[in-house]
């Protein structure tokens, strides 16, 4: 697995370039303003910045897109987090009477982190990822996306690659933004199946009846299980892995010894798995009523190895800060971990199967692309005309042209489409409001 090591001296040069010429401010503002349906929605939003030398500042807020741009270009944050919409402007929170400054709304968010799967992946550990274990993210996205849409009825979901070793989901529906903390934790619990820390061996326990949510999730896992677990992760190949898998088979099963014996002769992972499944079916048919536990152990194994692991705490709090899309770094330069400098980009689920986290542009990459000589530009305006335009517009146009020349383009384009989708609902809301105010 390759992670490009950066000369930390580069970053101070790259960030200003990034914020002046590449960061998609107008789309960003368009998103967080939510069509201007609610007053002061953008103004009361908290941002937090991680600056040079690891300085962390909270409660940043801005009145307009221009102010946001100016400040970010001035501060050149290494990392940006988005927080909640508060009752007052976060930058003025000290002037507000204590107790009345409250977080009111925020998108419903989920954070899937590859390190939470360390006990079930053999290819990498900790901050490392590779194409083999990336499938876990694909499975996670498939399962959660389906559940959030079909079960909960949410529609405006933005999936973002976090830049290093996981993905985030931002549920932007109005209803989602208004959820209480209790509701958020209920949603996260509903979506949680893998429970337990290092000292829990068996992290998934299923009992009858199997809830439709679990059934649907299993169907999705099954699509990937064979290739991912049996082939790539080889969970039934190497001895230690086999032992680990078999440790998840219920002890009372007489077949366990049988299984272990059979495994002596049968080496192919697919066949071994088939044997496990057969035994599971046999157990379900036989036991019927005496022991409720352990009937679905083959399902439990699949889920333990593949089912998404959420951090409930991220989703629970209305005021929880989460890394912003289009932000760059996620760790301090003072650590010695190699960092990638990859941009946090929105993901188009239509291309999920071919998504390659290593193809996601890094900040130095896109800065480099910026300096490349222009080729095949569709821009036909004359130099004079450009000079005549007022400066802001010109800068804007330049920026639009700029990112389009880089690998960032397709991600911003997708983000635009996502925003277009949301815009329909904003229009409806605005109309409703103006009708109420008799404002034609």
């Amino acid at each position: 697995m390759s992670s490009q090591n950066y000369d930390s001296a580069c970053l101070p040069d790259l960030l200003p370039l990034y914020y002046r010429r590449l960061f998609p401010f107008s789309q960003y503002f368009r998103w967080l303003n939510y069509g201007g349906v609610q007053k002061n929605y953008f103004q009361n939003r908290e941002f937090s910045f991680t600056l040079k030398d690891d300085i962390y500042v909270r409660y940043q807020s801005f009145s307009t897109q221009t102010e946001l741009e100016k400040e970010m270009q001035k501060m050149n944050p290494y990392k940006i987090d988005i927080g909640a919409i508060y009752s007052h402007r976060p930058s003025q929170h000290n002037t507000v009477k204590s107790g009345t400054f409250q977080a009111l709304e925020k998108e419903l968010v989920f954070d899937i982190d590859m390190t939470d799967y360390d006990d079930v992946r053999s290819c990498c550990s900790a901050a490392d990822i590779c194409c083999k274990c990336w499938t876990l993210m694909t499975i996670a996205i498939r399962i959660l996306d389906r559940a959030l849409r079909d079960d909960f009825g949410f529609q405006q979901l933005l999936w973002v690659y976090s830049g290093r070793r996981g993905v985030h989901c931002w549920v932007c529906d109005e209803g989602a933004r208004k959820l209480s903390s209790a509701a958020r934790s209920a949603v996260a619990e509903y979506l949680s199946l893998v429970k337990g820390g290092d000292d829990t061996l068996k992290k998934v326990v299923l009992t009858d009846p199997i809830h439709p949510f679990i059934r649907e999730s299993l169907l999705l896992v099954e699509r990937y299980f064979s290739r991912y677990a049996l082939l790539e992760q080889d969970i039934l190949g190497r001895k230690e892995s086999v032992e680990k898998v078999l440790s998840l088979v219920p002890e009372d099963i007489l077949y366990l010894k049988e299984l272990q014996q059979v495994f002596q002769n049968e080496k192919k992972p697919e066949t071994r798995w088939k044997l496990v499944k057969d035994h599971a079916i046999r157990k379900q048919v036989c036991i019927s009523g005496t022991s409720k536990k352990g009937q679905h152990f083959e399902k439990e194994i699949m889920l333990q190895y593949c089912y998404p692991r959420l951090d409930v705490n991220v989703s629970k709090g209305v005021n929880h800060l989460l890394k912003s899309p289009f932000s760059t770094l996620s760790l301090s330069l003072l650590s010695f971990e190699p960092w990638t400098g990859r941009i946090s980009v929105p993901m188009d689920l239509k291309e999920l199967e071919t998504f390659d986290p290593f193809a996601v542009p890094t900040i130095s990459q896109i800065c480099e692309e910026l300096d490349r000589p222009r080729s095949g530009e569709e821009d036909g305006k004359s130099e004079d005309a450009k000079e005549k335009e007022n400066e802001k517009e010109a800068a804007e146009r330049r920026r639009i042209r700029d990112y389009k020349r880089t690998s960032l383009a397709k991600y911003v384009k997708y983000f635009d489409r996502f925003l277009d989708g949301m815009a329909c609902s904003w229009k409806g809301e605005l109309l409703k409001k103006s009708d109420l105010q008799k404002d034609f």
Partner: protein, 547 residues
């Protein structure tokens, strides 16, 4: 709110309408005049009811027959609506239910702990009463209170049959066929969603009619929670004084009546306006409300009905048989150390007064014990005797102090090093408590039950359990909240009062021997034994019938 005098007598139409139904959500505060007496009586009765709800909820499985029966009998005895009849006789009970709920809201809104307690008991009470409604009445209640959830069409039900069956082990094929399923927004059914006990589709959970109670309860709990928050804000706004607003305030006070004026959401907006005419604070109510939340609402055992019926040499054996653990412990340390500190003297001394010790006996008792210790007779007479007489209301402002209730023992004056008072279930370290119980030969299984109750902070129930274990009975059949009550109940179990030896002559002799003047009140007539016994039993009975 407009208080025209025409309001005084009749209830509003909406209120009459409200009382046609057994159960309500307490959305609308009552608007009428009631007497101070009614105000207090209603509040106390509801408090008793809620305490029973709490006790019963810990002793029995909620929803079981025993649980329901106990609640129904308590509701009945306190004159609250106990069955979903729609008869005119229920009108008064429902009015009482309505008013008492709102009064307790005011008393219990002040702190987080009080609010939590109040909400929990009210929710449990509501659940019990909701369960008693017929399906028809349940639907009606939902409709009346804007809990209008769409039902699934038959077609949709058939389509979703498998999903519905698999979502909850609570749902059978029959349920799906016969019952209506309601589509409730998932935000209103968070507990079901969290535990994945229900079918969820497009943001709606599908709930069979029989389970709609969970939703209803959640709704009730949320509404109540919000209202209590409003109550707090309103009362804080006026510096903890209950405000009644009216334009003709004087009229109401003259007749000793109270105008009920409860802060509701709309009221709150009115109250925040600066321009308020004639705002008066009602000083009569605030003390009552303050005390309600710490109230002991039973007997106070201050009237000594059995004076002289106990002789001093019985105390040792009584302490083992009929004293609650706190008093047994105090008695034991008194005997061991020949001394007790002030807190212990008060708690134990008043208890002894409550069980029937006369002043003379008490003086004798304390004196003889203290003399065995480091205190000589003179010092006792100078220092401690005064305090004993004080307890009996013979000194100072002559207040006849009442024996401490469990609540008082548990909540006030926690013991420190060298003290032996307080409630052992509350104040003793569980390990020490365990040892103590073992020493008193409580069976091991009983000890663990007691410790469980202590862990759950149900100290009085732990003591009740101690009662049951030491008297070898299954069910104490009373709700313990006073040490003297424990004593009486114990005597009742051990032989209906017949065991209290009357030894009047002994008592008299002791009185004559003591330094102070004998009290005339303790002269028992030398009637024949049976008559005296009847009298005693009668007296004991009257203890139970009292309030």
């Amino acid at each position: 709110m407009d208080f025209s005098s025409g309001r005084k007598k009749s209830l509003t139409n909406t209120q009459t309408e409200l009382y046609r139904h057994h159960l309500q959500f307490y959305d609308q505060p009552p608007l009428e005049n009631i007497s101070l007496g009614e105000f207090e009586a209603f509040a106390v009765d509801r408090l008793k009811l809620l305490k029973t709800v709490e006790n019963v909820g810990v002793s029995y499985l909620k929803g079981s027959d025993q649980y329901s029966n106990k609640l129904v009998s308590e509701l009945k005895s306190l004159n609250f609506p106990y069955r979903p009849d729609t008869g005119p006789s229920e009108h008064d009970k429902r009015r009482k239910d309505h008013i008492s709920h709102f009064i307790l809201r005011l008393a219990y809104c002040q702190t987080e702990d009080l609010r939590r307690w109040f909400i929990q008991q009210e929710v449990d009470l509501f659940r019990h009463r909701f369960d008693e409604l017929s399906p028809q009445q349940k639907l009606e209640l939902l409709n009346r209170n804007n809990l209008q959830y769409a039902t699934t069409s038959v077609k949709e039900k058939i389509l979703l049959k498998d999903e519905l069956l698999n979502s909850s082990y609570n749902v059978s094929g029959i349920t799906v066929e016969e019952q209506d399923f309601y589509k409730v927004p998932f935000q209103d059914a968070l507990d079901l969603v969290r535990a994945r006990k229900v079918y969820l589709k497009a943001g709606y959970v599908y709930i069979p009619q029989k389970d709609i109670v969970t939703i209803v309860l959640n709704d009730f709990r949320t509404r109540l929670s919000k209202s209590l928050a409003v109550s707090v804000l309103s009362s804080l706004l006026f510096e903890n004084e209950l405000i009644t607003t009216s334009q003709k305030a004087t009229n109401f006070f003259v007749y000793g009546r109270v105008t009920l004026c409860f802060p509701g959401p709309e009221h709150f907006t009115v109250l925040t306006a600066r321009s308020l005419p004639a705002v008066h604070s009602d000083e009569r109510l605030q003390p009552l409300l303050n005390h309600l939340s710490h109230a002991y609402v039973g007997q106070d055992y201050s009237i000594q009905k059995n004076v002289g019926k106990i002789s001093l040499d019985q105390i040792d054996s009584l302490s083992g048989k009929s004293f609650p653990l706190c008093m047994r412990q105090l008695h034991q340390s008194l005997r061991e150390n020949h001394h007790l500190r002030h807190g212990g003297r008060m708690q134990y001394g008043l208890f002894l007064k409550g069980i029937g010790l006369s002043l003379e006996q008490a003086l004798q008792f304390w004196r003889s014990e203290f003399i065995r210790g480091k205190v000589d007779a003179d010092k006792f007479d100078k220092a401690y005797a005064y305090s004993v007489r004080h307890m009996f209301g013979k000194e100072g402002k002559r207040t006849d102090y009442t024996p401490y209730s469990c609540m008082k023992v548990i909540l006030s004056n926690p013991p420190s090093q060298g003290d032996h008072h307080g409630c052992p279930f509350r104040h003793s370290d569980p390990e020490l408590l365990k040892q103590k119980l073992q020493f008193y030969k409580v069976p091991a299984s009983g000890i663990s039950q007691i410790l469980e109750l202590v862990k759950g902070m149900h100290f009085q129930l732990a003591c009740q359990k101690y009662f049951e274990l030491t008297h070898n009975i299954d069910d104490a059949n009373f709700s313990l909240n006073h040490p003297n009550q424990y004593f009486i109940e114990s005597q009742k179990v051990l032989g209906g009062g017949k065991e209290i030896k009357r030894e009047v002559d002994t008592a008299q002799r002791l009185q004559e021997n003591s330094a102070t003047k004998g009290s005339a009140a303790t002269r028992e007539p030398a009637a024949d034994a049976s008559k005296a016994e009847d009298e005693m039993t009668e007296d004991l009975d009257s203890y139970f019938q009292d309030a």
